[in-house]
């Protein structure tokens, strides 16, 4: 499958995530849209790794080009899992203090 299709799919997912971050006011949904953007980038990384492997395997049958990208995706998933746990703890703490999940309540942080 041509690489452009994967790029356009990832761009669509990424822009949906950006629109979600801009439009919604629920903190949890904003957080989920950030996850969506991370997954779009992961998909693009895997597609590019397969593209480079496909280009390199013509010359050398036993090449391992592209393994690094898939490991990067693995590490991105690891970091995202840690980030989600801390972020949800912060959201729970905020909800306990303000009884709301509105992002605009965070305005008061500036005072």
């Amino acid at each position: 499958m041509p690489i452009q299709y994967y790029i356009i799919l990832s761009l669509a997912l990424f822009c949906i995530g950006i629109v979600g971050v801009l439009v919604r006011r629920n903190v949890i949904i904003v957080f989920m849209c950030v996850e969506l953007m991370l997954n779009a980038v992961n998909l693009l990384l895997v597609a590019f790794s397969k593209m480079h492997h496909g280009l390199a395997v013509v010359n050398d049958k036993a090449t391992t080009v592209g393994t690094d990208a898939q490991l990067f995706v693995f590490f991105i998933m690891v970091v995202a899992a840690a980030e989600v746990s801390v972020g949800l703890a912060i959201i729970v703490m905020m909800y306990r203090n303000t009884h709301s999940v509105d992002v605009n309540f965070l305005n008061r942080l500036k005072n």
């Binding site: 761009l11 919604r24 989920m32 790794s49 490991l71 840690a82 703890a89």
Partner: protein, 147 residues
């Protein structure tokens, strides 16, 4: 769907559907390890965590205050413009023309090859990520502690 549904639980379920679709793409690209990890970590763990938090907060009914319509429109328009610009950029790019991502062939995505590279060349980041997990666990507990 993730951002159109009013109910946050529906939104989470649609996001799970998106993750399943992305895992299907990984399988098509013959990256089976990443497909399984994506299913387990994202669709399994993280989404269940989101569902727990939503149910803990009792958010099932829509209590989200409505934003100004013009603000929503501005957000949608700016996102759409970004998408249009990027898509036109991709369509014009000659560098990637004709490149093909290989499907269902190649064995770099299999667990054996990934594991060899992970434990030979990427041992130090692996250990650092374990420290990161430990600190995230401690941080979550400390933040979420009732005080």
């Amino acid at each position: 769907m993730v951002l159109l549904s009013k109910n946050p639980v529906h939104s989470v379920l649609w996001l799970v559907a998106v993750f399943f679709a992305i895992s299907g793409h990984y399988i098509l690209l013959n990256a089976q390890f990443l497909a399984i990890v994506n299913l387990i970590v994202y669709a399994g763990a993280i989404m269940v965590l989101f569902l727990f938090v939503i149910m803990l907060m009792n958010l099932n009914k829509d209590m989200e205050p409505q934003k100004n319509v013009w603000m929503k429109l501005a957000g949608a328009i700016s996102g759409g413009c970004l998408l249009m610009i990027l898509v036109s950029l991709v369509r014009q790019a000659t560098e990637i023309g004709g490149k093909v991502a290989e499907m269902k062939t190649g064995n770099i995505g299999l667990i054996g090859n990934l594991g060899k590279v992970l434990f030979n060349e990427y041992v130090v980041p692996f250990e650092i990520s374990s420290v990161l997990f430990l600190s995230a666990m401690v941080g979550a507990i400390v933040i979420g502690k009732k005080d």
